[in-house]
């Protein structure tokens, strides 16, 4: 993890000052000012009532933690949810020094990538072999999900330039597509005979993916894509 990443977490976690006691009411008020907290609570509620209580519980836990973090930041006078926005990319000390040191430090990422790819291949193959909705696959997915959310909490792994100008003003196009896709899926879900019973006439994405995820290779490929997406996001 980079210095920028540590700074992002340290901004909020190790600032000087007395420990601040936060009441549930303060946490709720601060949290509700942030739309994402409300969205997460809504997703958690929808998951719970559609037969996925574990999903709902875990998402609600994250929403409460974010609300608590917002309350703590506002009570201490920090800019809420500040990240390492302005933190420059850390210099790579391995790029200077003796040639042997340079070679050794350039090999380290290669070894890390090789180890990561091997671990990902083992994870997808083993976990893909378990039946869907079984306890082994549930434990494996929940553990990885919690790990990645914990990594996200610490901060970005590297600093990148922000969107500005015209590209920033047109980011709404992506939001529009996301809302359109989510709305279409929700429409299909609400046209099912029951929230937990699929409809042939109005299939959700989950229902359409069932034939693919019925086989070991299908689950392995899906998990590989999920891991790749997760790594791509976590490395931002």
């Amino acid at each position: 993890m980079t210095e920028a990443a540590h700074e992002a977490g340290d901004d909020q976690l190790t600032a000087p000052g007395r420990p601040v006691a936060i009441t549930p009411g303060q946490a709720a008020l601060s949290g509700l000012r942030h739309p994402l907290v409300g969205i997460l609570l809504l997703i958690g509620l929808c998951s719970a009532i559609s037969g996925k209580p574990l999903d709902g519980f875990l998402i609600a836990v994250v929403a409460v933690l974010l609300a608590w973090d917002a309350a703590r930041a506002s009570l201490r006078g920090w800019p809420a949810y500040s990240g390492a926005d302005a933190a420059p990319a850390p210099a790579r000390p391995g790029d200077t020094g003796s040639p042997l040191r340079v070679v050794a430090r350039r090999r380290a990422p290669l070894l890390a990538v090789t180890a990561g790819v091997t671990a990902a291949a083992a994870y997808t193959t083993i976990v893909g072999g378990f039946s869907r909705y079984s306890w082994p696959v549930t434990i494996a997915v929940v553990a990885l999900g919690c790990l990645m959310v914990a990594i996200a909490w610490q901060g970005p792994l590297r600093s990148r330039p922000p969107l500005t100008g015209r590209p920033l003003r047109r980011a709404w196009l992506w939001a529009l597509l996301l809302v359109a896709g989510g709305g279409w899926e929700l429409s299909s879900l609400l046209q099912q005979p029951h929230l937990t019973t699929d409809s042939y006439a109005h299939p959700t994405i989950s229902a359409l993916s069932d034939p693919v995820l019925a086989s070991h290779p299908g689950r392995t490929i899906f998990l590989a894509g999920w891991l790749l997406l997760g790594w791509s996001l976590a490395s931002r």
Partner: protein, 66 residues
């Protein structure tokens, strides 16, 4: 066109729109943001980072977990 085909066509339309927008963004980055740039921008705050990774984790939970 049956209801099922219409529903699937809706998903494909959203997918096609996403691919078209991404291609346009890659070809003219000064005018449109790519999906990667949007995620990077959203994930510049703790709320954004955690929110996006929770959405990712939810995908895995939704398709595999009890």
């Amino acid at each position: 066109m049956t209801s099922r085909e219409l529903t699937i066509a809706g998903y494909l339309a959203v997918l096609a729109g996403s691919v078209a927008l991404q291609i346009a963004a890659v070809r003219r980055p000064e005018r449109l943001p790519s999906l990667g740039h949007v995620f990077t921008h959203v994930m510049r705050t703790r709320t954004g980072r955690v929110g996006v990774l929770v959405a990712w984790a939810w995908l895995g939970l939704h398709f595999f977990a009890k």
